[in-house]
Amino acid sequence: MTPAGLQLDENGRLRHFLTIEGLSQALLTRILDTAESFVGVGERAVKKVPLLRGKTIVNLFFEASTRTRTTFELAAKRLSADLLTINVGSSATSKGESLLDTLRNLEAMNCDMFVVRHATSGATHFMARHVAPHVSVVNAGDGRHSHPTQAMLDMFTIRRFKGDFPRLRVAIVGDILHSRVARSQIHALTTLGVPEVRVVAPKTLLPAEVEGLGVHVHHDLAAGLRDVDVVIMLRLQHERMQSGLLPSEHEYFHCYGLTRERLRVASPDVIVMHPGPLNRGVEIDSEVADGTQSVILRQVTYGIAVRMAVMSMTLGSHASEGGGA
């Protein structure tokens, strides 16, 4: 079964949330609309709704994360779910416990949802295949494959600031090769009808046959940014220099770093996004990151509402069909 097929139930509702690929525009729009209804919750004095009261959610992080983990935690709490966060790190593997055993043990504690981050592409797909029928899996990032809630919060941010997807030009700049965020963003943008999605990177940071994902490839930053409405900068990991993909951070900033000067070729009301954490002076200049065109902190705020939407829609599909089971 394809990853896309695995995540929908027989009525086409979300059973797991693993990847954007294969989901319909209608479903993505419904996630955004649902998130819209949750934005107000975080602004109230009592920041809670009782939608997932009595449900148990486990945050299972095999890889370090601060932003994603905490926003998932807040989202779960604001939905009134019981929450457990486990930072598995690499310790479980060194103890010799297999991923499936970890899963089975937690399942035995009668959890309803796993929010999973794992270093291997396809790990959440694997877990979704093997969990008990009443358990949902939400992907919080698997290897280089997919990070669908990040992509949806980015779409939410774009819709809030730019409105209509079919009128936009979007550029994603940086390490596309290693980025699960970029892959999910590309699927989300093309599904929502953005007519021109560009990727801008040196050839060493682009996956093979990337055009097959429906993007235009640019190696020159100025050409890639010309007339775009949205710029998404990606984080550059230090490991890329060690593995011989780039000579230095200095040269990367020289060629691909986003500065106010370089942003001038973009549309005058361009917005600048970044999934975080930032490498100031490597992929983005502080002047831009903190400037008026930056919506980076709004992305974080909206992340909570979007994750509330995904969690409630995913668990909701069981609640309505499973009854008291």
């Binding site: 991923l99 499936l100 291997t120 797909h125 699960r180 996956p207 093979a208 046959e209 994902l213």
Partner: protein, 427 residues
């Protein structure tokens, strides 16, 4: 025991035989095709009307997992699976644990396979000590211990100089080298073909050039050293073209392809199916077509199972964290016959790629129905359809990418050295 196999379609591709007739076996050897020899009286008659009778299949590469990984399979369990698939000779690579870099390990494998009494097991000796790619293994001693060739299995010989000397030394003793063409720097820690599917799935890809660069290096060294060389499991169309060019220049080079590479592509990995995690990886459609053409043209001489049985746990992980390889002994024949149905090969070429050609590459007397040849026989029903089901597989490894496939052509009897080593109950 004397057998008459009566009324089957006897196909001996190496000798140009293809007719409905009888085959007579006596004292573990082929006695005659056609009329029985003077005074021949069969102890048992095997009725083969409607069936194909051909030499027992010769499989150039099958991991039996013994010694070292008996939880995945043993010489006894896997050679039993082999004969259920019509295979009477198989050749195992040297990366056992311990590796086959001393005659003792080769002898152990020969003894265990003789004790199992199923298929014949040939052994490749290590090219370098512990397969580390640094110092030469004692190839002469391994040859004397009965190893049919020399190989570093799927481990790299990074140093071009070590590879050159290994080839020179093997050539000194007339040993064939069996080579796995994969550039170590572009193949290490990577798990799928570098292309559209791996890019989509976010799996680090092995480029086509990982194969063609290693192949080019090794072909030039073959030319320099004059060693007999066989390239294992080609996976790319351009790799086939390089071998074809070398053969055209007169180099003593042969090649095989794994049966699964003739039927599956990168698309089959699109759902992270761990049974499609293979070495070399499943590649693009154009590669599949190039490989098929290579077999049809005779550039790729043999089709192998590349049998790699695994315990269930080895495949119970996310794709890249699983161990590569597929259990292939029981699907080798039907997957090859499928190429005949698909119009890729004629039946004689298909069976040659499973019998006389691999036997020739190994330099052994097998894969033929010549009088006095060992009575290694495969009898199969070419018209029966069956479904590959994990729980009905004979191999201890149920890790086949073809589970659930409808396959045509099924072995009914296998004889090895004139003994019935497999007989299908419901046949």
């Amino acid at each position: 025991m004397r057998f008459t196999v009566r009324g089957g379609r006897v196909i001996d591709p190496g000798n140009g035989v293809d007719r409905v007739t009888d085959l007579h076996l006596a004292d573990g050897r082929v006695a005659a095709i056609g009329p029985a020899p003077e005074g021949f009286e069969a102890d048992r008659v095997l009725e083969a009307a409607g069936r194909v009778v051909c030499p027992g299949l010769v499989d150039l590469r099958a991991y039996l997992r013994e010694p070292g990984q008996e939880h995945k399979g043993t010489i006894a369990s896997e050679s039993r699976a082999a004969v259920a698939g019509g295979i009477t000779t198989l050749c195992c690579p040297p990366d056992t644990d311990p590796v086959v870099d001393t005659p003792a390990v080769a002898e152990l494998i020969h003894q265990r396979s003789a004790a199992a009494g199923m298929a014949r097991v040939e052994v490749l000796g290590a090219m370098t000590k512990r397969l580390e790619g640094r110092r030469l293994a004692e190839m002469a001693a391994l040859g004397e211990a009965g190893c049919v060739g020399i190989s570093n299995a799927v481990r790299p010989v990074e140093s071009t100089e070590v590879m050159r000397h290994a080839m020179e030394y093997a050539a000194t003793f007339g040993l064939t080298v069996f080579l796995h063409a994969e550039d170590p720097w572009m193949g290490r820690d990577r798990h799928a073909h570098e292309g559209a599917v791996a890019s989509r799935l976010g799996i680090a890809g092995i480029p086509e050039t990982a194969e063609t660069i290693a192949l080019s290096r090794d072909l030039l060294l073959v030319e320099q050293t004059g060693v007999l060389a066989h390239f294992c499991h080609l996976s790319t169309a351009r790799g086939v073209a390089l071998v074809a060019e070398a053969q055209a220049r007169g180099l003593p080079v042969t090649a095989d392809v794994a049966a699964h590479h003739l039927h599956l592509t990168e698309i089959d990995t699109a759902d992270f199916n761990p049974n499609c995690h293979l070495t070399p990886p499943l590649r693009a459609q154009r590669d599949l077509e190039g490989l098929r053409r290579g077999v049809a043209d005779g550039v790729v001489n043999a089709i192998a199972s590349d049998h790699q049985p695994h315990d269930a746990d080895a495949k119970l992980n996310p794709f890249s964290d699983t161990e590569p390889g597929a259990s292939g002994l029981e699907t080798l024949l039907p997957l090859t016959l499928r190429l005949v149905d698909d119009g890729v090969l004629d039946l004689r070429t298909a069976l040659a790629a499973l019998t006389c050609h691999p036997a020739g590459i190994l330099g052994i007397r097998a894969g033929t129905l010549m009088p006095e040849a060992p009575a290694d026989i495969c009898i199969y029903d070419p018209d029966v359809w069956w479904t590959l089901e994990a729980e009905r597989m004979v191999s201890r490894g149920h890790n086949s990418p073809f589970l659930g496939w409808e396959l045509k052509g099924r072995v009914t009897h296998t004889l090895c050295g004139g003994r019935i080593v497999f007989e299908r109950d419901d046949a």
